[in-house]
């Protein structure tokens, strides 16, 4: 069994990563999962979170929100609506995202949408804490 697989992380505007990796931790909507070579083919949607990859070129973290990951025999493809290297993630960007998520949650009307946006907001905040930024900072901007 090969110990690496092809991995690519693509956002609508550009392709961020493409190359061999040995392990990818994906923040799925229903929980984190780790894909390694030979994983069963699956498709999962993403929640806002950290995507951790480790491979021959070292380890790396990316912040991703919205989109999905496709795991197939050939490798893993992550299509994220927004994707940034962890180093590019700043308090300002997080503030914008949290404010946006909060607004979506406030604007939501039917129960389904409220639950959905509330989870999105919670995930966003958790992701902020995870990368060492202050998620509540965004409160001051309202």
């Amino acid at each position: 069994m090969a110990n690496t697989m092809d991995f690519s992380l693509v956002s609508p505007e550009r392709s961020l990563v493409s190359g061999p990796v040995s392990e990818v931790q994906i923040p799925g909507t229903d929980g984190d999962l780790t894909a390694m070579p030979g994983h069963a083919p699956m498709i999962t949607t993403l929640r806002p979170g950290l995507l951790h990859i480790s491979g021959p070129n070292g380890e790396d973290d990316y912040v991703v929100t919205g989109g999905f990951a496709e795991i197939s025999a050939e490798g893993v493809t992550v299509l994220a609506e927004r994707a940034l290297h962890q180093k590019e993630m700043t308090q300002d960007i997080l503030n914008d995202w949290v404010v946006e998520a909060r607004k979506a949650w406030k604007d939501a009307t039917d129960d389904n949408a409220v639950a959905h946006t509330a989870k999105l907001l919670a995930d966003m905040v958790a992701m902020g804490t995870h990368v060492g930024l202050d998620p509540d900072h965004a409160n001051y901007y309202e």
Partner: protein, 291 residues
């Protein structure tokens, strides 16, 4: 017959026009390259998204319980036309061609007794459509302040469109834009986005059987709006590249025409200058002879 001074002024003014069109052509060329790169960079995402959604749609969409965005409202009465044009003119027939395509569709729909609503993106299309169909215009999205198109812009348009769809404002949405063939050829294109259509690759459905987390339906519901945003984003980028291509060739033509005009005017100027000199000589000679 214009005087020498008039001709001289005329030549000077055409020369400065040529300088401007030449500069605009070069600017458009540079912007075209960037727009093409952006469209190129967006392609992998759009292609994967389309493929996966195609698969999902093929397995879920057939049933009546599928999301409305995919199966439609079951009616075909109200059509929303999203006309994407440029914010600026001076790009040949670019905007007019898109609007013409949209108008043709509007006439067809009206002849078939459907209601037509128009959402414009880009100032030029709104100006042209407003004259004839001001009562059908339901909205306008302004992109004039935006330097480089981002996915956010596509998201804004999609959000607007989906809100209207949720409120039952229309049954079918079609976007009009110019797809980029080459610098000299941009084809006005109509693409239906709601109910969504994806290139379902029949060959690939026999590929690996995916596990879905959460369920197929939930994934589809989550991804469909994003898929539409992706399609709109791709259309926006193509349109931007087409606009710059159209402007480049329009300005190239203008520069060449200005050059021809300068040549013609210069010949005319020289001829009348010679005529003036000849006239003066005749006057001097005949004056001398009279003495």
């Amino acid at each position: 017959m214009p005087s020498l001074k008039d001709l001289k002024n005329r030549i000077a003014s055409v020369k400065s026009t040529r300088k401007i069109t030449k500069a605009m052509q070069m600017v458009a060329a540079a912007k075209l390259r960037r727009a093409q790169e952006a469209a190129e960079a967006a392609r992998p995402y759009a292609e994967r998204f389309d493929a996966v959604l195609g698969q999902l749609a093929a397995s879920v969409g057939g049933s009546d319980t599928g999301p409305k965005l995919l199966s439609g409202t079951g009616k075909d009465d109200v059509h929303m036309l999203v006309v994407i044009t440029a914010e600026r003119g001076l790009c040949g027939g670019f905007n007019t061609n898109i609007v013409k395509k949209a108008k043709q569709k509007i006439r067809e729909l009206k002849a078939a007794g459907k209601t037509v609503k128009i959402l414009t993106v880009g100032k030029k299309g709104r100006e042209q459509l407003r004259r004839e169909y001001s009562d059908a215009m339901v909205g306008h999205i302004d992109l004039s302040g935006i330097k480089s198109l981002g996915y956010v812009n596509a998201q804004d348009i999609t959000r607007d469109l989906l809100n209207r769809f949720d409120e039952g404002e229309f049954d079918v949405a079609t976007i009009f834009y110019a797809s980029f063939q080459s610098v000299i050829a941009q084809t006005p294109t109509a693409m239906q986005v709601i109910p969504a259509q994806f290139d379902a690759q029949d060959g690939e459905t026999t590929g690996p059987l995916y596990e879905y987390e959460p369920s197929e339906e939930a994934i589809l519901a989550d991804l469909l709006p994003r898929g539409i945003a992706t399609q709109i984003f791709a259309a926006l980028l193509e349109n931007a590249a087409s606009e710059q291509g159209a402007r480049m060739s329009a300005m190239d033509n203008a520069t060449r025409n200005a050059g021809e005009m300068i040549d013609k005017l210069t010949i005319q100027y020289n001829r009348s200058r010679q005529a003036v000199i000849t006239n003066e000589l005749i006057e001097i000679i005949s004056g001398a002879e009279a003495l």
